[in-house]
Structures are given as C-alpha cells and as structure tokens.
Subunit: 482 residues, 2 copies
C-alpha cells in the first residue's frame, strides 16, 4: 500500500468541476500532468499536445512513462475521483429495498436486521431470510459485503468514502483492512448506538462504557493500519441523537477532542425524527443544539442530510464549521424531504454529496449528482419556480469532488488538477456511435458533434460504471486494466 508507484505523465483532456466556487463553469483543458512516485501532482502544463512535448516541458526522460486516454481523443477524459461523504457499507445488499417505508420504520424493518447480521449470529435476518447461497458466519458475511461495496464503489469512481460500518468491532476492522487492501481512501466509523428506547435488543451497545471501549478499539486498529491517516482514517460515529444515550454523546465528544478525531452522524432527515429528538432531549433548543450541547459540533464533524434545519440551526452549524453530507437520492426515495442546498451554500456551509446506501438506492456518486440536480429543481419549483435554487451539473460535480474533499477534511488535496494535489483520478470513456448508428453498448452515446460541456452533461445524466475505465488513488491503479 505505501509502496511507491512509477512517476508518470498523464496526457489528454482534463476536466474538473469549478474549483473556485460552484457557480463557475467546468474546467476543461488539454495538456499533461506529471505525477510523482508518491502519487502527488508535481506539475501541470496546458500547452503540450504530445508525449514528446510533455517530456520536454517537464524535463523527464524515457524512464517516465506517458499514459494517454484509452478511448482516444474526444471520447475520454481525466476527471477527479468522487468523494462519497455518507455511505453505510453494511446496508449495500439492501439497495433498492425499502418498500413504501419512511426513515424510522425502514430502520426497524430493513436496516437493523441486516446490520446486526454482520456480527450477531442470532440476527433476525438469518431467520427471516434463510439461504443456502450466502455465508452464514457473520464475519465471513461482513467481509463478503464489504469487499463488494469497496469494489463496486471504486468501479463507479469513488476514490474516498466516509463509511458507517456496524456496531461490531471485528467487522468494522475488516472494513478498514479491505479498504487498505483494495486501495480506497476511507473514513471508517464503528456505529455507536446504545439507547434502549430506540435500538433493538439484538443490535445495540450494552452501555456507554462498552460503546467507548469498542470505539477506541476501532480507532486504534485504523491508526495501526495507517498512522498517517491519509488512507484509512477512523471517525467516531454516533448513529444519530435518538439512538445514543446522552452520556455516550458527551463521552464521544471528549474522545474526539483528546484524539483529534473526526465525527459523523445524522441530523434532521425527517420531521418525525425531529419530533422524536425534541421529546428525547427536552433540554436542548434544537436538533443541532443537542449535538452542540454534547460538544460534538465542530469543523471535523460531518452531518448527514440536514434537510429540515431551521435558520438558527444553520447559523450554528456554520459557526461551528461543521460540514453537511447532502444525500438527495435517499431523501427523495424515502420521502424525507428536499434539502435546500443552495441556501446552505449561500450561508457559507460546506456541502458534499453522499449516496447514503441503502436509504439511497445507488452507490454511484454520479447518481447523487443527478439526484442533487433533481432535488434542487423540486426546491425551486415549490418556491414558485425560483430558479436561483437550481443546482446545475457543474455545481453538482463540484459538490461531488471539491465539496466532498472539504467535508472529509481533505480540502485542497483532491478535486482538481493542481500542483500538490493527490492523483485520485478516474479515467472516463464515453461510447461512440458510428455513421451507421452502431456502436458498443454504453449508456452514453456520442454522435460526434457534441461540445465538451455537452459530453459531460451526457455523462452525468446517463453514465455508469461502464464509463469508468480506470481509477487511480494516490497514483496507484486500483480499478481497471493497466
């Protein structure tokens, strides 16, 4: 993993989301990028057009390889890897399964049985869903699911993911091991949930003490795997306020401060959840205040959803510099609500995108970009057709890369083609239709007359993992053929 990769020149069309601010246009440039043996961008040049020119401009010889786009000119491009700021790895087998449920009954019916099956051999899932085709040992099952999640998210261009695991130490550590093995940058969160009023007996921590001891064990495991925290980073993960005892929330906050740890949790996903928080935490002024009163709201905190925050809560979130993981697919599919992302951005809150598997039905961040666009149109429509609420494609891609980097504490390290940034990149290839209307099977068909902005739009709306030809993380090829 820490092994170095060959110093390499990448040549072709480089496209990235607007870096300065989400309102600008796409950055589309031809040229070359020199990547160090450590996987960091050394130099960029937007004038060269050939391997020879690139070697001359960068002052490197034949020992440095030059990689061109496999799909050829006009049909492929380099794009920064996606950051998924909110994904529940153990829930992946349930993607698309939610019936007509909404958040709270969805948790009871679909989610807790599946999550518990990764550590508890008596999980109700083993009774309700018997099988002869899948592992029935919890840890084996966890490894099966986690390997698949990481492989499939990598194949969809996700280079960094902020994972929720389960409450189980062994399975959570296995997720960290697999992310390291497969080369994905990952935030690994053991889920804390110990409130008997909301967590089923078969799936909860027994006490604040157990919750803290198990959380520490997972933090230590991650730090042993990767002391730098650049690849594998532990993140404290109280599921959400109603699932944690107040003593646990405050103990987690203390640990976060002592150990400089990141924190992730959910906030204001649905109105009935907010009502529950109000009943359970009568001493706090708001949902956001519950976290703030416990000491959990800081610049290293990722808040998922934030659909229904009040103006006062948004001001508090911004004041504390906490980040938001916007999860549009999940919110729309579960009928949770429509997050006013434009408002959050304008008020100065950092926002990234989350797939929220499996409240979200897809592990593709590109699908999250689409859904963010659609959610913003819903917000605009119900604000009397006020188009200022629209989130366009360039903005969506900004949230998926630059925005996501801010949310996971990697601001300035990824999301663009700039000196000093990591080579966390996907090579995108689109499908070409020939003059007779034939072409390979691809959900994105180029007819030959599209401008780059149009090609990117076609990719965003119809692209899938078939268009992700190769993925590098820190300069290492982690998906696709060399």
């Amino acid at each position: 993993m820490a092994s170095s990769v060959p110093r390499t020149v990448y040549l072709g069309t480089f496209i990235s989301a607007p870096h300065a601010g989400p309102e600008a246009g796409l950055e589309i440039r031809d040229g070359a990028v020199l990547v160090s043996a450590g996987g960091v961008i050394e130099k960029c040049d937007w004038s060269v057009r050939s391997a020879e020119e690139a070697r001359a401009v960068f002052g490197v010889g034949e020992e440095v390889g030059v990689r061109t786009l496999g799909e050829g000119e006009g049909n492929g491009f380099w794009f920064p890897g996606f950051v998924d700021t909110h994904i529940h790895a153990p829930q992946y087998p349930n993607t698309g399964i939610f019936g007509q449920s909404t958040l709270l009954d969805w948790l009871e019916t679909y989610t807790f049985p599946l999550e518990s099956s990764l550590g508890n051999p008596n999980s109700p899932l083993y009774t309700s869903h018997p099988t002869h085709n899948a592992p029935t040992d919890p840890l084996t099952r966890a490894k099966q699911i986690y390997r698949r999640v990481i492989s499939r998210t990598l194949a969809s261009g996700t280079t960094t993911a902020a994972y929720y695991a389960t409450i189980h130490v062994e399975a959570t550590n296995a997720l960290a091991d697999l992310a390291l093995e497969l080369g994905q940058r990952a935030l690994i969160g053991r889920v804390c949930m110990d409130e008997a009023r909301t967590c089923p007996e078969y799936y909860r921590d027994e006490s604040t003490e157990v919750s803290m001891a198990n959380s520490r064990a997972c933090v230590e495991h991650c730090r042993t795997l990767d002391p730098s925290g650049e690849r594998i980073k532990p993140i404290l993960t109280p599921r959400f306020a109603p699932s944690c005892q107040l003593s646990t929330l405050t103990a987690l906050a203390r640990l976060a401060k002592q150990e400089h740890l990141m924190v992730q949790t959910h906030i204001s996903e649905t109105t009935s959840e907010i009502e529950m928080v109000r009943r359970m935490f009568p001493d706090s002024d708001s949902y956001a205040a519950v976290y703030d009163d416990a000491g959990l709201l800081g610049e290293k905190t990722i808040l998922a959803h934030a659909v229904h925050l009040s103006k006062e809560e948004r001001a508090l979130v911004r004041e504390r510099k906490a980040k938001v993981a916007h999860c549009p697919a999940s919110n729309s599919a579960l009928g949770s609500g429509y997050c006013p992302v434009r408002t959050l951005l304008e008020e100065g809150i950092d926002v990234g995108l989350g797939t929220d598997v499996s409240g979200g039905f897809s592990l593709s961040v590109l699908e999250a970009v689409r859904q963010a666009y659609l959610v913003s149109r819903t917000v605009a429509y119900h604000a009397g057709g006020n188009t200022k609420y629209n989130i366009g494609l360039a903005e969506g891609l900004h949230l998926a890369t630059v925005g996501g980097a801010k949310v996971v504490g990697m601001e300035g390290r990824m999301g663009a083609f700039r000196e000093g940034m990591l080579w966390d990149v996907q090579e995108v290839g689109l499908g070409r239709v020939d003059g007779n209307g034939k072409g390979e099977s691809s959900a994105v068909d180029l007819f030959g007359w599209e401008f780059w902005e149009e090609k990117v739009a076609k990719w965003v709306w119809n692209g899938d993992d078939r268009n992700v030809k190769r993925v590098w993380i820190g300069g290492r090829l982690v998906h696709g053929q060399d």
Copy 2:
C-alpha cells in the same frame, strides 16, 4: 418480418406487474408458457418444473424447443416488454443536454435545431455544431440516429414505442422502415407544426395543406409496410396546440376520424405553456378543451404529460377516454411540475409511462418507473406527507406494461402472461455475488438471500440494459444472443 418463428416452450420464473389493478402485488410464478409459431401465447402452466413435464402438459414433442433462463434459477426471470408511450426519436442525441432551461426555451435552444437537422441541410445545428465525424446529409443522419434509438430502446427492454419523429416525410418513413427491420412494435408520428408565431422558419410545415399532405404520406407509408397495423402503426402527431394552426388541428381530427387513426400530442406540461395556450386559443375554456373543440380528444388519443390538468379537464379527458403518457423524468429534469398520477388513476384515466427523450434524460422505461416512484413521493410530501399518493414499484411496473398497452391501443394483447397475449417479453438476468464478494460487473448484485419481491426491487432501482439479456417481440428474438 412476417416470417413465422418456431413454436417454443419458455420455462422458469415468470414475473409480471399486477394485471387486475395497479394496487395488487407482483405476479410471480414458476412454470412454462407455450408460444405459437405466430408469436402468441397458446398455453400457460404454473405447475410444471422441467422441460419434460412441460412437453407432457402441453402435448408437444421434441420438435418444439424449450428455452430456459440463461442466468439460471433464482437469478433471472421472464418479464413483459416495456411500452414507451412517449419518446421523441430524433432527440436522442440530446439526452442529458438541457442546461438550466425549461420547456419553451429548451425547444428553441436544443430541440428545434436538432430535429430540423434530420431533413433540412440548412439546419442551424450544422453551423453551431460542425463535425467531421458524423453524417452531414440529413437523411443519412436520420437513419444513423433512428437505428441507434431503436437498438438502444430494444436493448433496454422496450418492445413497443410511440414515436414522435420530425416534420420530414422521408426521415419519418425511414423510422418506420427501421422499426420494421429491427422488429420493434412502433407507432410512427410525423410531427405537425405550422404556426408561425411559435415555430421557427427553418422548421415548420408551410401550411395546413402541406401539413395534411405530408401526414397522409406517412400514414400511407406505414400502412404499406404493415397493413395489419400490429407492428407499425401510423399516428397523427400535432406537436402541441401552440405549434399548430387551428385549421390544422381540425383537419387532423377529421382525418383521424375518417381513417380510424391514433393521435398523440402534448398537454399541460408547464404553467407558462398553459398561459400561452390561453392567449392563443381564447375561444376554448381550457387546454384540454382546445383539443376537444378541434375534435382531437378521443379514446385513440395519447396526451403526454398532463401535469397541471384542472379537475374539469381531467373529467373531460376521462369522458373522452383519452390516455395519458406520464413522463416523470422529463418533468422533474425540466422543472415542469409533478403529475398527480394517483389522482388520474383514481378518477379512471388510463396512464402509461413515457421516457420523453430528450426532455427525459434516459431512454430506459425502467428509469421512468424509478422517476414515477420519486415524483409520486414528491406529490405525497407536498400534500403533507399523505402516502396515498405514493406509486409503488409494482404500480410503476404496471404503468410500464399493462398501462402502456392500454395507452397504445393494445389492451389485453400484452403486459402479462396470459393465453392469447403476444410474446413481447424480456429475459432479465441479475448479478450474483459469490461468498468472497466477487461477481460479474452488474449494477444489480444479489447476495443469495433475497426474496423475489426484493430481487425485483433491486432490479427496478439499479437495473440497466446489462440486465436485459434477450428480448422477443411477437415471438421473434430481436435483441441478445440466441
């Protein structure tokens, strides 16, 4: 085309949407279906489990082949082909390209230039989007695009499509030729638009007389290709009220009555369009009344969108037995509004799904099912969380098959596995994850413990053309390897 196909037994798991009404559950049955040489279901049996049993029950010998599911037991199923009740074939190259536009500026900016390029060598598209890679002869370009659209929709499981073409006779006839060649059931509509106030000079019929003569020419061509109208059926296609002179609308209505023709048009897609109709047709009481006053509203009429119909308009539509093509992806992406499908259904209006390429961003009817679900959740959310507005997956699949059949005038002929119905069927195969978390590249991963309802849910939410292994229409294999 009219050639017969071998009499065949299909064996395995047969799944279809609820046939009686959309509220019922999926029909999931193991068994066998005998399909005649004419491509019609002769018999169904839900007790047999093997080729031998099937031959015995159906009383057929070795001369009748037995086809099993290629993906094997538990991982694949037979499902009725999809009906796309609204798709603009010439707009396919623009899928995903709409920027921040809404309907009326989208037509001007993106749609008319592209459509006109299929017949007019002076189309502005040839100037704005020059290319060395695509045909520049309009008819050659039309054939390129149409072959691709038909191939890709077939590959996505669409067995019947109600197409809008362009105003051009030659290109429209080429669409009919290609549908016949490739084996897709198609309604072929030459677009009528001759109102100078709304149609650009470079793309409109010159007069009512030209509009009618050209429409007749396309009707005749379709009837020459397929006198039965079972495969290729002409459909009169006034684009929408604002694009047609009143004299043209009434002349089309007369022709439809004389020749027993179907009619398709748009209605109430956006509020600004409704406002325009009000200004342009001051003598009619409503948008629906414009069509009714012209004589165009009947049981053979397909109305696309119907997002903003008033209660009175819905009553009129139902009274006339006109059908609705619900186009959720398009409506959401263009910010047009959220069609209250549940209300339409409860009031007794027949509804099918349309992809509305390229207002809709995807040619997949499965995507339309997903978007119908999401739109219904938006309607429910903004009705105070009233879940009665939700359209579930079984209902969405009902609209995509049984509902669509009603809309295109094929009620009772397709959409289920019943004696006398056509063998218009897709073979669906899902991806299997092995115990180590590995498996083929598929957007749908089965882990081995899912029930059939859950497998179908996973397919609907994440399935794509990779899961459509083979497609038959009228018993003829039209997509996939034999």
